[in-house]
């Protein structure tokens, strides 16, 4: 126990400042009201759905949970069920074998809800494109509020996409 505490003390706090929202990532105008966003901004529950990625984007979502980014300190929490979620974080081109599961997950997420597509594949199908086995971008299957390009996007970019999704955007209320 002494060694463990010593390691914690020696490490200190490594968290870095969070990025700002970036309107260029927004796909759909902000649909949610100021009241909702104010609540989301303080306690945002995220459900991640891998719809067919190469698992590169998952590595970066894991990395976004590292102490450098301190998501929970920003009020962001990953939850185990879409029924508890405010926002879906979707990676991959949507594999046709995952199309129904993604739609069902979207339907199971209570309104009001947001969708952030992660990675080049989520944005435009990436190297996998559209085919007999792939529906291509996430927006081909469910409405996407914010799309974050990158292969894979770094944790700060993912965080920026999430923060953009819950910011007031061009509506400018807040």
């Amino acid at each position: 126990m002494y060694q463990l505490l010593k390691q914690i003390a020696k490490t200190g706090i490594v968290t870095e400042p969070a990025p700002h929202a970036d309107e260029a990532l927004r796909q759909l105008a902000q649909r949610l009201s100021e009241v909702v966003l104010r609540h989301f901004g303080r306690a945002l529950a995220i459900r991640h759905v891998d719809a067919g990625s190469c698992n590169g984007c998952e590595l970066e979502i894991h990395a976004a949970n590292s102490p450098y980014y301190n998501l929970e300190g920003l009020g962001i929490k990953f939850v185990a069920s879409p029924r508890h979620a405010d926002l879906l974080l979707v990676t991959g081109p949507v594999a046709r074998n995952m199309e129904q599961a993604l739609r069902r997950t979207y339907d199971a997420t209570p309104e009001p809800k947001l969708v952030v597509a992660i990675g080049d594949c989520g944005c435009d199908g990436g190297v996998f494109g559209e085919s007999y086995a792939s529906c291509g971008r996430v927006g081909n299957v469910i409405p996407v509020d914010v799309a974050v390009p990158g292969c894979p996007p770094a944790p700060a970019a993912i965080l920026q996409g999430i923060l953009t999704a819950v910011s007031a955007g061009a509506q400018g209320f807040r």
């Binding site: 990395a63 074998n97 995952m98 199309e99 190297v127 086995a133």
Partner: protein, 499 residues
């Protein structure tokens, strides 16, 4: 790469497999191809690893009712590969007890075969019926827990069907294939040069292993000799990939036994390494660095120094974290004897790679068939015999240390020189094999070229094919809450398997 290719008759297939099994050879991969344009029929391919290297066996099959004698009773890992070969190419394994579909779900109907040449990549089908006959466990008090494809954590999609009594797992049945996105078919629309980017995205966490195997296959098919410096750089990156993944997994193993401290510490160290990789190699996960003909970027001597300094500081911290893990009664209580695969079972069912080494299967390509630059390094294999979560953690710790030693030795061997040569044009009908020891296990890429520098057939094989069935065995008799821990201790690829 020591590899030879041979054509055998369907009637010789089983005896060839039986004698290979008797010689303690293992099945690396099994796949099919459409050869109607060349020979008027189909083909079944097997890659077997023997003492002297890899044997690529090809069995020509008829155009009408293509079939071959199944070999899953000889090599159990062949079962799912045979089913996938049927779903994709329509070649039938006779006398096999399991003919259920495997990679086909809703995307295309039975009777259509995506890897046949008359099947268009852009085909669309209305979602078909996706009933799947799971094995039903019956008896007093038995009930089922269906999990997935969308899981509770940040994990890839797959379905797990648990049959349990009380808290104990009687049986687990996996269903995979949700991530099938047509990778093999897409390769067939590509040139050898274009395919490298896709190869690096078969399983993102093994991008170096796949990209190197792909490059090796493309270089073999086109008789291109990559420069020595490029090979040394590739090996440095393969070892960095191993270190990064092992650090991440060791963190998650702590997390899954409620030792969040472990997660935060290991992921801080992993992040430090990833950030340096972005600076030195242009990508946090090293994607698109290995290209056919060499590597895309050089490493300066200052860069190499920074890499060694960073790794040295990570090593010091990992040493303290290992002793904290080892002495943490709560963590060890969850690790020891959990998710056990005995050496006998591992050998019988063909467990491979890192998980295999934790169950006493002392195989590692870097040791068994060391290709340049590994032939000069005398790689020390890390093995354990207990085959539990603790053993898989220990192998990771040991391999972390060995990879560090290898990187130091490789940096010392970095001599000035070219890092890339142009990929020679490959004629149609040439073949190439790439085989690398990724962090998870051996990654294979088998390639046959078409005219015009294009790909006729490319089969990438992830070691997860061999190891997924062993996860079903490892969880038996364990409690349901230990499943995430056991699963993470294997950390198998869905994308690399589903293709």
């Amino acid at each position: 790469m020591p590899a030879r290719r041979a054509a055998i008759e369907p009637a010789q297939l089983r005896s060839a497999c039986e004698s290979a099994r008797a010689r303690n050879e293992r099945l690396v991969a099994l796949w099919g191809s459409d050869e109607t344009a060349r020979s008027g029929g189909f083909a079944l391919h097997l890659a077997l690893a023997g003492r002297s290297g890899l044997a690529w066996l090809t069995v020509a099959l008829a155009r009408e009712h293509p079939r071959y004698p199944g070999i899953a009773d000889i090599f159990p890992s062949a079962n799912r590969m045979q089913r996938a070969a049927y779903d994709l190419v329509g070649i039938h394994a006779q006398d096999s007890p399991d003919h259920r579909k495997w990679l086909r779900h809703r995307a295309w109907p039975g009777g259509s075969f995506p890897l046949r040449k008359d099947f268009d990549l852009a085909s669309r089908f209305p979602a078909s019926d996706d009933r799947y006959p799971y094995v039903k466990v019956e008896g007093e008090g038995v009930h089922e827990i269906p999990v997935g494809p969308v899981h509770a954590g940040t994990i890839e999609p797959g379905h797990f069907r648990f049959s349990i009594v009380g808290e104990k797992i009687l049986r687990l049945e996996e269903r995979l294939g949700y991530k099938h996105k047509g990778i093999e078919k897409r390769f067939e629309s590509m040139t050898l040069a274009d395919g490298a980017r896709l190869a690096g995205r078969i399983s993102g966490d093994s991008t170096v292993a796949f990209a190197w195997a792909y490059a090796m296959a493309a270089e073999g098919a086109s008789s291109t000799q990559p420069p020595r410096r490029a090979l040394v750089l590739r090996a440095i990156l393969l070892e960095i990939e191993r270190i990064a993944n092992h650090l991440g997994d060791l963190g998650y193993l702590g997390n899954d036994v409620a030792l969040a401290f472990g997660f935060y510490q290991f992921w801080r160290l992993k992040e430090d390494l990833l950030r340096l990789c972005a600076e030195l190699f242009g990508h946090r996960y090293l994607m698109d660095f290995v290209v056919p003909g060499g590597v895309a970027r050089d490493l300066s001597s200052r860069g190499a120094e920074r890499l060694l300094e960073r790794l040295a500081s990570i090593q010091t911290e990992v040493a303290s974290l290992r002793s904290i893990y080892d002495e943490h009664a709560g963590a060890q209580d969850r690790f020891i004897m959990t998710g056990q695969v005995t050496p006998e079972l591992a050998d019988r069912l063909g467990l491979c790679g890192m998980a295999g080494r934790a169950s006493g299967i002392g195989r590692d390509l870097r040791v068994d068939y060391p290709v340049p630059p590994y032939e000069q390094l005398d790689v020390r294999i890390a093995t354990q015999t207990r085959g539990d979560v603790a053993a898989r953690a220990a192998v990771r710790f040991d391999e972390f240390a060995e990879s560090l030693r290898l990187i130091r030795a490789l940096v010392a061997r970095l001599e000035p020189g070219e890092i890339k040569v142009p990929l020679a044009t490959a004629a149609g009908g040439r073949c190439g094999i790439g085989w690398t020891e990724g962090w998870r296990g051996d990654v294979l890429v088998a390639l046959e070229t078409a005219d015009g520098g294009r790909i006729h057939r490319l089969h990438p094989h992830d070691p997860s094919w061999q190891n997924w069935p062993l996860l079903e065995r490892a969880v038996m008799g364990n409690i349901v809450p230990d499943f995430p821990l056991i699963n993470k201790s294997f950390n198998l690829s869905y994308s690399g398997h589903d293709l």
